[in-house]
């Protein structure tokens, strides 16, 4: 019987310890309804050398459908982003949780002066998820954060959906994720290409192009069409995409890219071959003699023109957005990687397009 008593006592002690653990031991427990989940963060620099951080937080309410606001925006002045997050807590009853942030938007001033100091907090502390989308806002950020989304669904999340291939993302929008941006900032052999947004009167914002970078500073902007070439060379073009031409509109349905690189007398020679399969979606009716060959020729010409302007822009500023430099990892000594932008300026890049008109849609091309 004594044994039984002893085990009973042991069990009781064990249960008590468990209860204590459960009661006082939930160190990291913070219930989801006690957190304010941030959907998007916006960072803009101010004149005093500090920054303003915008936060757009979806409001959770079981009574959706009432004429209540579905989001809540705040702006906070601070030394760093973390400082702003901290100070914001002074105003909030719930815990500010940036661990689910979908988008980080940076003002153009920041892009001009250098991104790195503003992004490090996200990577070092694992506070903002590494797969958050990065975008640059040209002009005023206020309306993007303060106005309600006319499409209305789950405010704060849409910015990511805007770029996601499974939702509104088309290749020209060029989704750039936090980890991508950060790794390219650290990689001397490749430069960043980050989408640039501007506020829009009807919709919340619109994309005006993609900014290419030299180190962490903005160097210029590619148009949306030029971005398409970038997407094709980097093989990121997965879905179909429309190309507009004077005589007809084409849909790119498939493409393959091959890159060959050489280093001749310290000068990079790069040969890019791109096979594109296209389908005809629309034929201009002004032009009478449209044949398959003219379409191909025109597409080739158009693509070459875009390629030329894209390469000219990036080469003149030494911003290797495609990352050709990565092919030279074995050919250059690691210490000389930093001189790649100079080499890239001199590089001889030849892009060849092989166009195949896969079909002409559901209508014959007479």
């Amino acid at each position: 019987m004594t044994l039984l008593h002893r085990t009973q006592r042991l069990t009781a002690i064990g249960a008590a310890v468990l209860c204590l653990l459960a009661a006082g031991g939930c160190w990291d427990s913070k219930d989801v309804d006690n957190r304010l989940l941030v959907g998007a963060i916006g960072i803009e620099s101010t004149k005093d050398g500090r920054l303003n951080a915008w936060f757009r937080m979806p409001i959770t309410s079981s009574a959706i459908g009432n004429e209540k606001d579905t989001f809540f925006s705040l702006i906070q002045h601070g030394e760093t982003v973390m400082d702003a997050i901290n100070k914001l807590q002074y105003k909030l009853p719930k815990a500010l949780d940036v661990s689910s942030t979908r988008t980080v938007m940076l003002s153009k001033d920041i892009a001009n002066s250098g991104l790195l100091p503003y992004l490090e907090f996200a990577v070092r502390d694992r506070s903002v998820p590494l797969d958050a989308v990065i975008a640059i806002v040209d002009g005023n950020m206020r309306s993007i954060f303060v106005r309600s989304n006319p499409i209305g669904e789950l405010t704060g999340i849409y910015t990511k959906l805007y770029f996601e291939p499974y939702a509104g993302g088309i290749p020209r929008k060029n989704k750039a994720m936090l980890w991508e941006v950060y790794s390219k900032l650290l990689n001397p052999l490749q430069a960043n290409l980050i989408p640039v947004l501007r506020e829009d009167k009807r919709s919340l914002f619109t994309q005006i192009g993609n900014a290419y970078f030299v180190e962490d500073k903005i160097a210029g902007m590619l148009t949306m069409d030029e971005t398409l070439i970038y997407e094709m060379i980097t093989q990121r073009l997965v879905h179909s995409e429309i190309v507009l031409m004077s005589r007809s509109d084409l849909k790119i349905v498939h493409k393959k890219t091959r890159i060959k690189t050489k280093l001749v007398d310290g000068k990079p020679m790069i040969k890019v071959s791109i096979w594109v399969s296209v389908a005809l979606t629309d034929k201009s009716h002004q032009e009478k003699n449209v044949t398959e060959d003219t379409i191909k020729a025109e597409l080739n010409e158009q693509l070459q023109k875009l390629t030329k302007s894209m390469l000219q822009k990036t080469q003149s500023s030494g911003s290797d957005i495609v990352g050709f430099g990565n092919w030279y990892r074995g050919r250059l000594r690691p210490e000389t990687y930093t001189s790649w932008p100079e080499l890239y300026r001199k590089a001889d890049i030849d892009v060849q397009y092989h166009v195949r008109l896969r079909n002409t849609g559901l209508e014959f091309l007479k």
Binding site: S29, D33, I157
Partner: protein, 455 residues
Amino acid sequence: MSRLLTNLHRLHTEKGSGRLFEELNDLFKDSFDYVCTKIGNSCDNEVYLCYFATLSLNSRLHFAFDEDESSLAIRLKEYEGTPISEGDTKKCELALCSGSAVLFLRGSATGLILDLQEVQQRSLDSPFTETVLQGPLYAFNENLEVNAALIRQRIRTSQLKAWETTVGRSTNTRIFVIYCADVVDESCLAQVKKLLTEMDVEGIQDTGELLRLLDKKRYMRLFPKAILTERPDRVTSDLLRGKLTILVDGSPFALVLPAVYTDFWHSPEDSYVNPYVSVFQNTLRFLAMTVNLVLPAFYVALTSINVDVNRLEISLAAAASREGVPYPVFIETMLMLIMIDFITEAGTRLPKAISSTVTMVGGVVLGQAIIQANIVSNLLVIIVAATAIANFIVIDYQMGLVQRVLKYFTVVGAAVAGVLGIVFCLACLVFYLSSLESFGTPYLTSLLPRKGGRK
């Protein structure tokens, strides 16, 4: 002279020491149904018959009160062909208690035991706890002989052996250990025989109780070490695979051992249906087990600790549904889990007619009301309901009970350390299972077919 009378006269009679009559009367003196009556004279000696009126077969016990010696012979003729044996006082006591009648001469030291017992039993029925859709539709009942016969009828070979013993100082319950001699695991058989012979208890009521008594290690009792089944087809298929079966008198459940973890996830039907279907069903059961173990825990982890693991949309939905709930997620979940276990428990113990009402009231009305009263979130109600349904998929009742307990364990783990806590609990579970043994067979014997004895 009849054979019985000859035997009767062969009984040891000694002057002075032959006191069976007095001793029996003394032992059973306060029992109203004990009958000890003189049925005649033979060679100057009085012949007595003792029996329990409630236990013995009444149709065989009619006799007239006549002093004639020849009529005694006729009367005894009625019992010709009944199995007889001779026994002393102790043996006679036991025999009387199990329904036999004792015939003796006044003054003899031993008596003749006539097997006249009448066993109370219900007829063969279809199984209650293991419902069959396709397959043999009868189940064991409470009669040991009938149960053994059901097994014998399904395995017609001389290799099917049965070993008998009794357990219980007062109940003297008969126990059969049945096995196929050619395939049985000898060490397991020896171990079980030893355990049964050494068992020292006051009484035993059911096979489940026997299983508890067979399991010696105190901390290793969480998981059932043997299958309790009422289906003869399950027993025979396991016997052929080298397991052994223990039948207990008065229990409609057979104990099949050794049993390993995966045995509890197989239904006998699995071998009666298309193999693809049975693989699918096994997968379903495995999924159900996982859901049952970790779903509530995941709710706790994902809404209180690892909020960033799930999509923002889900977090928002969870946050919205928890709005106004005053308790922490952990308490909320515990509350709801206990509530659903109340409902389950109420449903099982009540008669069928009422139990459906209880489930209805409990599930629908209470569920709706509890959400509207803002005590728990509606997401949680979905989760708890799914967990409860998943629990019913568990085939073995005993294993289902264990699962019901274990889900609280993982919920506590989740509340303390989130997803890592859940996985830690699962790891502990695996460690615990791997150190268990069912009568010499490792409990976590692999999923490969080498289970039980057949090598």
